[in-house]
Every structure is written in structure tokens, then in C-alpha cells.
């Protein structure tokens, strides 16, 4: 009788422990870490440099080096479309498009960076002006871009980026 009670008690304790492990699902120690202020500042500068380099490449109408700014499994979204990885986007969308432009210029550019190591979340706002090579026509748009960057081996790279734009006009019209 005593042995039966001890075994029952042992099994109860075992199952309670197993249950406690089960409830930890989804409450694991987060991968995101707190960074010291100086580190955060340096990281923010580095993130802004990556985004600035991407913008400079677009303005130069050149893809040189842009792929290095992105992770291989990056995702690009533009104006309602799912473009795939940056390399796919570059090959099928961006490169042909840049060839059709005489110029591409950004203005009124602002960027905000929120650091949550190993991630950085960015929001960029800007105007852009495109001049078409075919007929010199000018297209002016107001755009936003939201990106997620990840720090890997000390380097910041773009994991995901989503851009959208609207014509530069007063927003009295419905966008739908």
C-alpha cells in the first residue's frame, strides 16, 4: 500500500513537470536581446548606411552591389505584388524597369529605425521623380517603404522590404 502511494506520487510529480514543460511552448526566452546605447547608435548608423546604399543604387540606375545588401532568402513586396527574393525582383522587375528610365531621383527623404536586436525595423518616406527614357515623361510619386533588417555575423542585411506609392496630389480622392 505504501509502495503504491509512493509510485502514484512519483507519477503525479512527473506528469506535473511534463505539463510545465508543455506550457513553456510559446513562452521561451525571446531571441531578441537588449543592446547597450552606444551599440544601438552604431547599429542604427549601419542600418541607415544599408538603406542609403540601396537608394543610391536605384538613383544610379545600377544594380551593382545591391544584391549584397539583402539576405539570400529576402522577400520584396511592391505595390500589392509579391516579387520574391531580391535577386528574383532584380532580374524580373527592377533591372528592366531601370533600363527604361532616364533618371530616378529621391527627395524629402526621411528614415526611422527601431532597433530590436538582431532585428531593425525601418520606415522610410520620400518623394521620387522618374523621367522615362522613351519620351522624357516625368512621373512624380510619394512613397513609403517598410523594411526588416537582420544582423548576421556583424553585418546588417535586408530580410524583407515593402514599398508602396501614390501620386503626388491632395489626398481627397479615395484610394480604392
Amino acid at each position: 500500500m505504501k509502495n503504491l502511494s509512493k509510485l502514484n506520487l512519483y507519477l503525479i510529480v512527473l506528469f506535473v513537470l511534463l505539463s510545465a514543460c508543455n506550457t513553456k511552448t510559446g513562452t521561451e526566452e525571446p531571441m531578441v536581446t537588449e543592446a547597450a546605447p552606444m551599440d544601438t547608435q552604431a547599429d542604427e548608423v549601419a542600418v541607415k548606411k544599408v538603406m542609403g546604399a540601396y537608394q543610391a543604387g536605384i538613383e544610379a540606375l545600377s544594380l551593382n552591389g545591391l544584391s549584397d545588401l539583402f539576405l539570400k532568402d529576402s522577400e520584396v513586396f511592391e505595390s500589392g505584388g509579391v516579387e520574391g527574393s531580391f535577386d528574383h525582383y532584380a532580374a524580373h522587375h527592377l533591372e528592366p524597369e531601370l533600363k527604361a528610365f532616364e533618371s530616378f531621383n529621391f527627395s524629402d527623404y526621411e528614415i526611422k529605425v527601431t532597433m530590436n536586436l538582431p532585428y531593425a525595423f525601418t520606415t522610410e518616406t520620400y518623394n521620387y521623380t522618374i523621367v522615362l527614357a522613351s519620351d522624357g515623361r516625368k512621373i512624380e510619386q510619394k512613397g513609403v517603404a517598410t523594411s526588416i533588417l537582420k544582423k548576421l555575423d556583424g553585418n546588417w542585411k535586408i530580410l524583407k522590404t515593402h514599398t508602396s506609392a501614390r501620386a503626388k496630389r491632395k489626398s481627397t480622392e479615395s484610394d480604392h
Binding site: N3, L4, L7, N8, L11, I12, F15, V16, L18, S19, N22, T23, T25, G26, T27, E28, E29, P30, M31, V32, E75, F77, E78, S79, G80, G81, V82, N116, Y119, F121, T123, T125, Q141, K142, G143, V144, T146, I148, L159, K160, H162, T163, S164, A165, R166, S171, S174, D175, H176
Partner: protein, 151 residues
């Protein structure tokens, strides 16, 4: 040695309850996004504040809308009042988890029927969001949606 039937029953109960209640975070994240879509389809977003953090950021089609409260007050709230219906179709979602964050991508078609003249608007859209698990609840901290005409 025989285990008491009561002990066995108790142990099985504990195990079953824990298995049922430990829902994967991916499903919980998808449920938040699904609830938001259903809220839009109901044309009444007034009870959806809890899906977003108070300092959330909403971006839509080239514009920063502000927090979700700002977006409801100044854009989507008034806009839904002009619709007879707002429905989503061909909906797909992917979730990437890295606690406490979830990074999501949604693609869908949306159809709007306008009250004024019953005109139909159909758009192909994508939305990228960041959710954060706070006090065991998933909430949207940032969402960016954009769309284009359906070809």
C-alpha cells in the same frame, strides 16, 4: 503493483488539457490577422483596437496613417461607411516566428461595393506585418498594405 484508477484518470486529464491548450504561436498569429480581416468584412472596426498595440504603426498605399486608432478615426472608419460590402478572397498568409516577434505576409484579392452607385472595386493586395507577443497575447505593432488593379 496497481495504480489507483483515480491517479491514472487524473494524470491523463492533466496531459490532455495541457496538449489542447498549448496552441502553437503560428496559429495564434494567424488568428489575429484573420480576426482583423473579419472585422473589416463586418464594416465595423470599432471593437478591433485590442488587435493592435497603442503605439502601432499603420501604412497604406504610400502613406503613413499613424497608429491604428488614428487610422480608424481618420481613414478606415469613415471609409467603411461608404461601402455596401468589403470581402476578401484568395487569401494566403505566411508566418515567420522569432519570439517575441512574428513577421507575416498576406496576399489577397479584395472586393468593395460602393453604397453611392453600387460600383465594384476589385484589387490585388499584399500586407506585411510585424506582431509582438506581449503578456502572452499577440498584437500587431506595424502593418503595411498596398494594392494594384487586378489584371
Amino acid at each position: 503493483m496497481k495504480l489507483s484508477k483515480l491517479t491514472i484518470a487524473a494524470l491523463l486529464s492533466i496531459f490532455t488539457i495541457q496538449s489542447v491548450t498549448a496552441q502553437p504561436d503560428t496559429d495564434l498569429v494567424k488568428r489575429v490577422l484573420k480576426t482583423y480581416k473579419e472585422t473589416l468584412e463586418s464594416l465595423d472596426v470599432t471593437k478591433s483596437y485590442a488587435l493592435f498595440t497603442e503605439d502601432s504603426q499603420v501604412l497604406e498605399q504610400g502613406k503613413i496613417e499613424g497608429t491604428y486608432r488614428d487610422y480608424i478615426a481618420n481613414h478606415i472608419g469613415p471609409e467603411l461607411g461608404h461601402f455596401t460590402s468589403f470581402t476578401f478572397s484568395e487569401y494566403e498568409v505566411t508566418v515567420e516566428l522569432d519570439l517575441p516577434y512574428a513577421f507575416t505576409t498576406e496576399s489577397y484579392i479584395y472586393n468593395i461595393v460602393l453604397k453611392e452607385d453600387e460600383r465594384k472595386v476589385e484589387r490585388k493586395a499584399s500586407a506585411t506585418s510585424i506582431l509582438k507577443k506581449i503578456d502572452n497575447e499577440w498584437k500587431i505593432i506595424k502593418t503595411h498594405s498596398s494594392s494594384r488593379a487586378v489584371k
